[in-house]
């Protein structure tokens, strides 16, 4: 197998405590985050439409889990549901339990007490995540004063410690800097410091490096990796980038059309691509060093058609209209997860014939 899968595997072995719980067989221990049959209905211009169609996921303490998929697959929506940040008018059913506490239907003030406290969040765009009118010191101190009731001076001292922790150069001088005075990578370090401030149980990172240069990307990923290892917080990482997932998470959920189409240990999923959508996603990616034929690269494999609009999502398998393997039964009912390996499952009724 190539170096990439080997790296994912080595990484998984390295972080031995990352005992993720299989989606289809819940463990005896209560997971940190336990999402069951999560459904979210949004009001669209064309009437109500289901954006999440029964998501199940479990994340153990200190474990790492990745949600991967393309725009509109529901990966960010899942994270938003966990954070209680769904758009107004969204209807939620199912269950989201964090530390055994039910988050679905939780009043806003109780949710506010968790967000930024037990749940730390890092967003894609550090410039819009930070308030341009406040110093970064004040922004890191805010959750500490709010959730921990720290005094102004104690919060400032802690903010400095956090900035040093995220390796911001000249942290002491930067405490009074404004976001515009920092580079993109430095700003992302600040948002990570804010997310870490209250020592969360769960860090949600939604495309944390998409807006950054490649070399900076790597530094930020390494930082998140180190912090997750050192603090023992769990990581829920959202990305469209397969290579980011390979580096960061022990377990992977591939999402399409508001459902999890494939789930399994990251290395195992990469090694045995199972669901037709997962295969299509991998095949469509240009690869560094792919061989040339007569000086040119062969055409990239593409997935026929496009992601249907929410209101048009097929009743059965959401991928049915784009799948080369489709049969009538695919359209009849949403396919159940089929085990294809150790803790590796795919929602495809023809998985036996494909794999």
């Amino acid at each position: 197998m190539d170096a990439w899968v080997a790296a994912a595997r080595a990484d998984r072995n390295l972080r031995g405590r990352g005992h993720n719980v299989c989606v289809s067989s819940p463990s005896m221990l209560e997971p940190l985050l336990d999402v069951r049959d999560l459904r979210v209905t949004l009001n669209t211009a064309r009437g109500p439409a289901e954006a999440l169609r029964g998501i199940d996921l479990q994340l153990a303490r200190g474990a790492t889990l990745g949600l991967i998929g393309e725009s509109g697959c529901g990966k960010s929506m899942t994270a938003m549901a966990v954070m209680g940040l769904l758009p107004s008018g969204a209807r939620v059913s199912g269950s989201i339990r964090l530390n055994g506490q039910e988050l679905v239907g939780l009043p806003d003030d109780a949710m506010c007490a968790l967000r930024g406290n037990r749940i730390g969040i890092v967003f894609q765009e550090p410039m819009t995540a930070l308030n341009p009118l406040h110093t970064i010191g004040a922004q890191i101190a805010e959750p500490l004063r709010l959730h921990k009731g720290m005094t102004r001076s104690a919060a400032r001292a802690e903010a400095l410690r956090l900035l040093e922790r995220v390796q911001l150069p000249n942290a002491a001088q930067r405490l009074d800097a404004y976001p515009h005075q920092l580079s993109g990578g430095q700003r992302q370090r600040v948002t990570i410091a804010i997310a870490l401030a209250c020592g969360p149980d769960l860090l949600i990172a939604d495309e944390p490096t998409t807006a950054l240069d490649v070399t900076i990307q790597r530094e930020i990923l390494d930082l998140i990796h180190t912090l997750v290892d050192e603090t023992g917080m769990a990581l829920l990482m959202i990305s469209h980038d397969l290579s980011v997932m390979a580096r960061m998470v022990a377990r992977l959920l591939v999402m399409y059309g508001g459902t999890v189409v494939e789930s399994g240990p990251t290395g195992e999923v990469f090694e045995h691509l199972t669901h037709p959508y997962t295969r299509g996603l991998f095949a469509a990616r240009p690869r560094l060093g792919a061989p040339r034929v007569e000086g040119r690269k062969p055409r990239l494999a593409t997935i026929a058609g496009r992601v249907p609009e929410l209101a048009d999502m097929p009743h059965g398998c959401p991928f049915a209209d784009r799948c080369a393997w489709v049969v009538e039964a695919c359209r009849a009912a949403p396919p159940p997860p089929v085990d294809v390996g150790t803790a590796h499952a795919a929602r495809c009724i023809r998985v036996g014939e494909i794999a």
Binding site: D2, A3, W4, V5, A7, E70, S71, G184, D213, V214, T215, I216, Q217, R218, H240, L242, S243, V244, A246, R247, F270, L273, P276, R279, G280, L281, F282, A283, A284, R285, P286, R287, L288, G289, A290, R292, G295, R296, K297, R299, L300, A301, T302, I303, A304, G305, R306, V307, R322, C323, A324, W325, I354
Partner: protein
């Protein structure tokens, strides 16, 4: 492309670009930033040159100079042997049909209040209406959209389709050179594959030359015959793609490559290939 096969399509010679920053003190000269510090390269007709580098390395400044949107402080940009900055305004407008641009963001680069037909015909100057309509249909066809799409608005299209509209707008003048500034960075993986295939088809069928700016080394490796690696306004490494990306000589190129994790190999069984989406030919 026959008679001038020996003249490079695009030649950039010793280009320097300095910008003046706002004055910091009344008693000191305004600080100057040197965005390009002596850049030279040539692109032959029908080939693709990739420009890679990080934010601030001068990639987009270079694109603006090649598009003659700004003049270099020193040096020159020649398209088909003509110095773009020596042309009169009228000559420059006429010359612009030979070089067009595709931008990164297909949401920001199309006017939401104009129909596709108007967006796509904008670069056509002095073409009779009947012919313009014909050319729109041709351009839309070339990028795999329907002629009936001309009457729609940008919001009716997905991101990948919008990028096709932006490419149709660039194609309508039948340009020799297309400057593409991060044309697939805002697109999802499967849509990105469709647009990259389209760019390859257009090159094969129409002989278009690309100056392809990207931070994504795998994409550049896929599209480009040659690569120039930029750092702080200079080209630090320049040569055939295979050599630069697979046997890098410069430390900065190696650092860029080291930051890219190995791509996963696509394990597609040849007996059961993923159903592919062939683009309309012709």
């Amino acid at each position: 492309m026959t008679a001038d096969a020996d003249i490079p399509l695009l030649e950039v010679r010793d280009v320097v670009k300095r910008y003046h920053l706002p004055r910091e003190s009344l008693f000191a000269p305004a600080p100057v930033v040197e965005a390009l510090r002596g850049v030279s390269f040539t692109v032959r007709s029908g080939r693709s040159l990739g420009i890679v580098g990080e934010s601030g390395s001068g990639k987009s400044t270079l694109a603006r100079l090649v598009m003659a949107l700004e003049a270099p402080t020193e040096g020159s940009v020649h398209l088909l042997g003509r110095d773009l900055n020596a042309l009169s305004p009228a000559e420059l407008i006429a010359a612009r049909r030979d070089f067009q641009m595709v931008f990164q963001d297909p949401y920001g680069s199309l006017d939401p209040r104009q129909r596709v037909a108007r967006i796509v015909t904008e670069p056509l100057i002095g073409v009779p209406e009947g012919e313009a309509r014909q050319r729109v249909a041709e351009a839309l066809d070339a990028v795999g959209l329907r002629a009936s799409d001309a009457d729609k608005y940008p919001h009716e299209f997905s991101g990948g389709q919008r990028q096709r509209i932006a490419i149709a707008r660039a194609l309508i003048t039948r340009p020799k050179l297309i400057v593409a500034d991060e044309p697939v960075s805002a697109l999802d993986v499967s849509v990105q594959a469709q647009v990259l295939n389209l760019l390859a088809d257009l090159q094969e069928h129409l002989g278009v030359t690309y100056l392809f700016i990207s931070h994504d080394l795998a994409v550049v490796d896929h599209v480009c015959d040659e690569v120039a690696v930029m750092q702080a306004g200079r080209i630090v490494e320049y040569g055939p793609t295979e050599q630069v990306l697979h046997r890098p000589a410069h430390a900065y190129t190696r650092a860029l490559l080291a930051a890219v994790p190995d791509a996963p190999s696509a394990r597609v069984d040849p007996a059961h290939p993923i159903r592919t989406n062939p683009l309309p030919q012709e």
